[in-house]
């Protein structure tokens, strides 16, 4: 057991002595780390859109020069043509319907898929309800966990957006991005009065065959329909999603600065507290040195104090952020794509590392001052 554990009671009691000050600093650090994690979770969600097998090995075929899904209309029989192209393993026609095309914190996106394709094309684990019920019901819907949390939806409840009313047949868990979708039957969405879109779909998801080159296949697809009535624009799913939320990316980049500012804030806060703690105890540290405490020991005592304040605040803030993020299903979306606020172990780890680094950095100068202080002069200090 390291020797320094012996000194921990002294460090903790010193912090406890000024508990009001300690508590204020800890809560300041907690708030800052909470915001830091929130910003980080948006960043993670954004990365989630472009990462992984789905994003890289799936192409999205969309109508050319259209952005909002409600404006893209492709003939459904394009699917058969695409399926015959080399490098294509599977084609999934999708009808998209949503409540809002602009940037929103409450973007609800329905994806209508043919019943037989949904299970193979998506990796959904039901956490409530069952597949049988979904398959049986014409208006059945499988709701992503994030949407269910946001909207308070449970199995059996009815849910209406505009002209579309569905019955929740199940709630599913999947990747953070997926959990922001609501899946329905394709023909149900196509036949909904007002949408008036029998025979057309919004997009095709094209699953690439083993070894197929995404760029080449995308080019071949667009080539195919160049002279046709409706021209297509095909990209990998990752690129497609990144482009859809393009307007938000700048905002998110700005939010990053907010995250860095929070780190700076904790640094200033913890440093101030540690400087005060050292100035309060000039004589006490000189007494300890007289008893035989080395400069190194004094330095590490002050560092430990600073580290504890920063880490306790960090753990509280990070913990709260993870809880809130996990149970609120928050997301920001636009043009049919949601960026899920994603709480991950990696994010918590980053937060902790930041807290620790800030704690050390904040303690450095005061710890150095305390360690280098002249004993005799400090003993006279009042």
């Amino acid at each position: 057991m390291p020797r320094f554990i012996r000194f921990l009671p002294y460090v903790l009691k010193s912090l406890w002595r000024h508990r009001a000050r300690t508590a204020l600093t800890v809560s300041g650090a907690a708030v800052a780390l909470f915001v830091f994690c929130f910003v980080g979770s948006v960043q993670e969600g954004l990365a989630g859109l472009t990462r992984g097998q789905q994003a890289e090995r799936t192409l999205v075929v969309f109508q050319a020069n259209r952005f909002c899904p409600s404006t893209s209309r492709l003939p459904q029989d394009y699917g058969r043509t695409i399926a015959k192209l080399p490098g294509v393993a599977d084609v999934v026609p999708i009808k998209v319907f949503m409540n809002n095309c602009r940037a929103s914190l409450d973007l609800v996106v329905f994806h209508g898929l043919p019943q037989d394709k949904l299970r193979s094309a998506r990796d959904l684990k039901l956490v409530a309800g069952d597949w049988g019920e979904f398959e049986k019901r014409q208006d059945g819907a499988l709701v992503g966990r994030a949407v269910a949390q946001r909207r308070g939806l449970a199995s059996g409840s009815k849910f209406t957006i505009g002209e579309v009313t569905v019955t929740v047949a199940g709630v599913f868990a999947s990747s953070a991005t997926e959990e922001n979708y609501i899946y329905t039957h394709l023909d149900f969405l196509q036949r909904t009065r007002g949408l008036n879109s029998v025979g057309t779909v919004t997009q095709f998801d094209v699953k690439l065959a083993e070894g197929a080159e995404p760029q080449a296949v995308a080019k071949a697809i667009d080539e195919q329909f160049r002279g046709g009535p409706i021209v297509t624009d095909t990209r990998s799913k990752g690129v497609f999603q990144a482009k859809a939320v393009g307007d938000l990316v700048e905002l998110i980049g700005f939010a990053n600065y907010l995250g860095y500012a929070c780190v700076g804030l904790v640094l200033a806060l913890v440093a101030t507290t540690t400087v005060m703690a050292v100035q309060d105890r000039v004589r006490e540290h000189a007494v300890l040195q007289t008893l035989g405490f080395s400069c190194y020991r004094i330095f590490s005592l002050v560092m430990t104090e600073s580290l504890i304040v920063s880490l306790v605040g960090g753990v509280l803030g990070i913990g709260l952020a993870i809880v809130v993020l996990s149970f609120s299903g928050m997301a920001v979306g636009t043009e049919g794509v949601n960026i899920a606020f994603t709480a991950s172990v990696g994010l918590a780890g980053t937060g902790l590392a930041v807290s620790a680094a800030v704690g050390m950095l904040a303690g450095l100068v005061p710890a150095w001052q305390a360690a280098r202080a002249e004993i005799v002069a400090s003993l006279r200090h009042v």
Binding site: R6, F7, P9, Y10, K13, S14, W16, R17, R283, E284, V287, L288, Q289, T290, L291, G292, F293, S294, C295, Y296, R297, I375, V376, L379
Partner: protein
């Protein structure tokens, strides 16, 4: 061989172009088990001398040898480790750590030594018992009287069983009754444990318990009863 040997010790402070020399070429031997009092006018350099013997201040020139070790040549961290093992320091204002109990205050110097918590406990109990505060172990400094606080301070100074214990006006802040108690305690420690004590004081009553009384005058040490000339002749 004397336990403490002060050799040609000089301490100079310069303030602007003015030079203050509280100690000039001071010599002093303290034998093991002795009880020495150090008197002198205010500002005569008593604390300065004591602090150099305790290894918390450094001379301008000269040496302090304690138990055969020249402490003036040690690095700062070596000196700290040396203090932990060899010196006990009794402050004028007890200087206890307010957030720690009497027990924990006395434990502080022991935390630096390679002792198990059981060994520490035994030593702390002996030290607190010696100063008559075994029943106050869990009290915080603010719950103790001035005299009791000083006794905890003494327990902290002796707990590591140091070669030499120094005190800088250990009764300077106390009323007559507490002073009496502390003096008795110091005498007992010296007689029963054989602790070598060097006590700075300006109180003749405190000086009276000493076997040897030394005065600091104009930077030089004068032995009471033995004029400095005689000592110099002895040394020569």
């Amino acid at each position: 061989m004397p336990l403490v040997e002060v050799r040609a010790l000089t301490k100079e402070y310069s303030k602007g172009d003015q030079k203050i020399t509280p100690l000039k070429d001071a010599h002093l031997d303290v034998e093991r088990g002795d009880l020495v009092s150090l008197m002198g006018a205010s500002g005569s350099g008593k604390s300065t001398l004591l602090n150099m013997i305790a290894g918390i201040d450094r001379p301008t020139t000269g040496n302090v040898v304690v138990d055969g070790t020249d402490i003036t040549r040690m690095s700062r961290s070596k000196l700290a480790a040396w203090r932990a093992q060899h010196v006990g320091y009794i402050f004028q204002m007890h200087n206890l750590i307010p957030v720690l109990t009497a027990y924990e205050n006395v434990e502080m110097p022991l935390l630096l030594l390679p002792l198990s918590s059981a060994e520490r406990r035994k030593r702390i109990e002996i030290a607190l018992d010696a100063v008559g505060l075994a029943d106050r172990a869990d009290h915080y400094p603010r719950q103790l009287s001035g005299g009791q606080e000083q006794r905890v301070g003494i327990a902290r100074a002796i707990v590591a069983d140091p070669a030499v214990v120094v005190g800088d006006e250990p009764t300077g802040d106390l009323d007559a009754e507490s002073t009496e108690q502390i003096l008795l305690l110091l005498q007992r420690l010296n007689k029963e444990l054989g602790t070598t004590l060097i006590i700075v004081t300006h109180d003749p009553k405190t000086a009276a318990i000493a076997r040897r009384r030394i005065r600091l005058e104009k930077g030089e040490l004068v032995e009471a009863g033995a004029p400095i000339l005689k000592r110099e002749l002895q040394r020569a």
